[in-house]
């Protein structure tokens, strides 16, 4: 798990155990929240936490069994190679930035930069093609969503300046 060669990566078993544990933690949070909301009977019958409490218990119990099964006879192969995970992160991180910037910049500007980045760096396209797609798509989106189907999309300072 330490080398950076092309055929190394985290084992499936380890990742699966981690995911199962996270699910169990989620279950514990649900149980905790349910107890805070009240899990016994009140004047109006079962209180708000009654149902989710048992759901949380189910999550923890099934995770325990999944953890046991996974460690006993789980997949011994790789979860993914580091190179593959890098590919995945090269989508996740820009998308996270895109999503984070959107409330401030509006959807259109963020989309133009995002599509442009993706095509230029991952696709290695020439600038004219990049510009055509990156600018064409938001324009099409504007026409279809805002003009024809009357669905408002988030706008930023540039749209305001353009008076859209």
């Amino acid at each position: 798990m330490t080398t950076n060669s092309s055929h190394a990566g985290p084992t499936h078993k380890a990742v699966e155990a981690g995911v199962t544990m996270l699910i169990a933690v989620f279950g514990a949070i649900v149980v905790y929240g349910s107890i805070k909301a009240g899990i016994n009977w009140g004047a109006e019958g079962p209180r708000a936490g009654f149902f989710p409490f048992y759901i949380g218990i189910f999550i923890i119990a099934s995770s325990a069994i999944n953890l046991w099964n996974g460690l006993r006879d789980g997949d011994d192969g790789l979860f993914a190679e580091w190179g593959q995970l890098r590919q995945v992160l090269s989508v996740v991180i820009p998308t996270a930035i895109y999503v984070g910037v959107m409330p401030f910049s509006g959807l259109y500007l963020a989309s133009i930069i995002f599509i442009g980045w993706f095509m230029r760096w991952l696709g290695k396209y020439s600038w004219p093609i990049v510009a055509a797609v990156a600018i064409g798509m938001p324009i099409a989106t504007y026409l279809i969503f805002e003009r024809w189907f009357l669905v408002p999309l988030p706008k930023g300072p540039i749209e305001e300046w353009l008076g859209l």
């Binding site: 649900v30 989508v91 995002f114």
Partner: protein, 500 residues
Amino acid sequence: MEELVNLFHGFAVALQPFNIMVMILGIVLGVIIGVLPGLGGANGVAILLPLTFSMPPTSAIIMLSCIYWGALFGGAITSILFNIPGEPWSVATTFDGYPMAQKGKAGEALTAAFTSSFVGALFAVVMITLVAPLVASFALRFGPAEKFAVYFLAFCSFVGLSKEPPFKTIAAMMIGFALAAVGLDSITGQLRLTFGSTELLNGFDFLIAVIGLFGIGEILLTMEEGLAFRGGKAKIDLRVVLQTWKEMPKYWVTSLRSCLIGCWMGVTPAGATPASFMSYGIAKRVSKNGKNFGKGEIEGVVAPETAAHAAGTAALLPMLSLGVPGSPTAAVLLGGLLIWGLQPGPMLFVEQKEFVWGLIASMYLGNLVGLIVVLTCVPIFAAILRVPFSIIAPLILVLCAIGAYSVHSSTFDVVLMLVFGVVGYLLKKCNYPLAPLVLAIVLGDKAEEAFRQSLLGSQGSLGVFFSNSLVGTIMVLGLIALFWSAIQEGYSRLRPHSVA
């Protein structure tokens, strides 16, 4: 014969020019969605749902259901031409469809696939026409205990029938229920599980979950595989179509069997994917050409496609008549009903006749339109697949973001979508099924309400779920479904030499 009259009224609704237009638009969009990686029936419909907010409900459901039919058709194109199943239910179609294409018989394979899809869907729609009103009028008498029993049966069938390990199915399902519980409790009006966050007041919207889990998650999986499309050209001319049609009646037994399997698997929420595999498996075992399966046998395309389409269509039966969707896409359609202000369930057949029968009539027409569209436009749709992934991917990601935002006009939902996407990627890789998770988010509140109301009536005794023969039968069926794989295993152990 009241149904027949209603159906004719439905056709009158579906044949209005505007509805015909949205039907064709829906089919074309649906096929594109079915062809593109990362966009499937469920999240495709979820992303495009906001487009229907300003439409009358009947036109809206016609458009969305047609997107669904289109996606079902579209999955076959990529399977046969590129050996890449655009949708999970088309995996079985690749087994014989792709070898046929390699032998230069792509036209035959596509024609067979589309025609079988059409036959399967038609069979299922006829079944819906005949059965749905009966089920609905029966379900009108359901009290809270019976309602809960139906949900119980639906979720138990997931555990028993899915190919994933049962405890992973349970875990995924329970995560869905927990997410559904977040926010305002509908009975007591009390807040729960929000931990002081104002964003979580209204809970998690399952549309966001669908877009994230299926859309973003799928893109991440595709990135990891570093997919490159290579595929043959598609050409269908009239001669090939007619020739294939002449050949197809030979396989009527396979067709009929696949229709029945599809309807059965579609009504129980197992869905189209297991139906297509099961149908292919049985056809392979029963057919006299069985040993040629996998080498490009046309019957091996007919069987899975018929079943997948029948199942996909039949999934709308419980959605319409009981308010329990039979597949994630049906769940999204059900979410649409709620947004348009309709209450899904048996009352629809009483209060919203025009809507229900307009939808059913549109299923007949939509599939016919779909068949014509795919037969004539295959080369165009196949060309979409040659657009490289590094162009398609950012466009799909942006579309997902737009879809997620426009559900509630909230940028927080877009963040949530990305979180769901990463979670979906991890869960999928670790073999957790996503469909029960989504269905649990959709049905969680209703199931909980039915459960608590039943308990309220019985002063907390669980005996209420076995208090009369109707609710008892449904619960027992549920328990059988829950332990189905264990029962099967025990049975095959008792008879060690029988075929599993």
